[in-house]
Symmetry: C2
Subunit: 307 residues, 2 copies
């Protein structure tokens, strides 16, 4: 089913203990779109780039199942740029540069061809932009998934809470869930956040996996332990793209199917972190993905017969 | 099958954000023995206490399935004492006092009635003591599980490595696995540690769960998210006691059964942290345990049919 993705399309410059890159293709919208595209879903991006954004990157997105009609090009503007350096443990990073450029005045306008959107993924952006996209759609999508981060909790909490009240699934990390709810226990945090509107909450825990909550149930998928984490950039967005991509592909938004979507997202993210930028995701074949989905089954499977 | 547990039997004084205790019953051997006893296993402790150790605590252990014949009482000595204070997040704690007392000269002697030991649990103690217990047994047990900690890596690495080479299962936390192996990736760390002798490695990750490795496979059980963590003292030892207790009860040391043992250990530890000291474990009924084992199944169960 049709999927619309709102998120940044950007340049990243990344330093890790294994090497460094010049400006390469990055951005939440890019990773989300490519992950969904890998699953055969028609992913339509809404974003903005500058005149410095190479035509070949747009072609690369198109070639990988991503519709770029909704990416506005501002010829005399510059593309959003982020530079960061990861430490040895790969769990902490320093931001070396953040140049908003054309993103500073981003006012998304959905093309007519996006209007039949059934699945909507709101990548991490200002809450006002996320809200504006929801309001442009003539009919409410079947499922709206929203990603956000602590920055908006610190700077735009009222706006954020308003948009959270409009979506079906919120994805945040464990520290953000604690900050948003004021509860340390993730069980209590989930209960409070679900009372704010979303029917589902996904808590991302990086190398410790991901949890899915609804009002009554919890599903907890560990992350696949890897030989090497090469570059964590885009892992969370790949996860989100695999998650909503799988739901859009199957057209099934039950809790049981969301469990599978969590596993798909986790498996796809495990490829992203094994190479720089989008490379791991672009190289991914369906047999490699299936192999890793099987690894999740083996890693989590057990049976206990109770007395 | 017969289980021998070597570990401390101690007094703990605990402060948490929820309250504080006077000297209460604690120690690794206590939690391990009580957890195994809860599963109906005849758990025989080897330990040492002072003349200040109340008769009622020995009776409490006996009443809960723990054989205390191997607990040596030194009438004019004092029992090992630990005092600690947990911070708000319950993941970090300050040690306020450590009085080794009779533990300083602990030289375990196994009673004749313990000699038919088939399952041996070496709680966290000096590697020399752990080794001495193995050497006192006339026949090698079917399974030796060893717990240890970073303190011995910093102060007695050679001795530690010798004992690690003598056991079947090593249990440590993620930071300790990294320290012991010199590898950040837990996959690589596990491979190196298994090459040191043990056929199995259990990596304890606290609120993030526990991983079981053998040479070729990995099983990863998340921890059950709880409403409230009241006092984490003894969680790791309860986990170890539930783990080896389940294996001793079933007499099955296959990887598949170790997965179940990980779930039993995790489920039992979730009760320990809900009350002060041993209280949560002592109050535990088998129907409550079954309910929580079911929660693990629900939390981890999913099915994916691949294309």
């Amino acid at each position: 089913m049709s999927l619309v993705v709102v998120g940044t399309v950007a340049f990243d410059a990344i330093e890790t203990p294994f090497g460094k890159t010049d400006k390469i293709l990055g951005g939440a919208g890019t990773f989300i779109g490519l992950a969904a595209g890998k699953l055969g879903v028609d992913a339509r991006i809404v974003s903005v780039v500058g005149g410095d954004f190479p035509e070949e990157y747009l072609k690369l997105l198109n070639d990988n199942g991503v519709n770029t009609e909704g990416i506005k090009v501002i010829p005399d503007g510059k593309t959003f740029f982020w530079a960061g350096r990861y430490h040895n443990d790969m769990n902490t990073r320093d931001t070396l540069a953040t140049e908003l450029n054309v993103l500073a005045d981003f006012n998304p306008v959905l093309p007519q061809s996006y209007m039949d959107c059934k699945f909507l993924m709101l990548g991490n952006l200002t809450p006002q932009i996320q809200k504006s996209v929801i309001e442009q759609l003539p009919a409410r999508p079947r499922l709206i998934v929203m990603d956000t981060m602590n920055f908006w909790m610190n700077t735009a909490m009222d706006d954020l809470i308003e948009v959270i009240g409009m979506v079906d699934v919120l994805t945040i990390n464990d520290e953000e869930a604690r900050q948003l709810s004021g509860e340390y226990s993730l069980i209590r945090a989930a209960r409070k956040i679900i009372a704010m509107g979303p029917k589902y909450l996904v808590i991302k825990k990086g190398e410790h996996g991901a949890m899915l909550f609804n009002e009554n149930s919890v599903f907890y998928a560990p992350a696949l332990p890897l030989e090497e984490v090469f570059d964590p950039t885009g892992a969370g967005d790949t996860f989100a793209g695999g998650f909503i991509g799988y739901l859009a592909k199957t057209g099934d938004v039950s809790f049981e199917n969301m469990k599978r979507a969590i596993i798909y997202g986790s498996a796809m993210a495990s490829f992203t972190v094994e190479k720089f930028g989008t490379e791991g995701l672009l190289d991914l074949t369906s047999s490699e993905l299936n192999e890793r989905l099987n690894q999740f089954s083996e890693m989590m499977q057990f049976d206990i017969e109770l007395d």
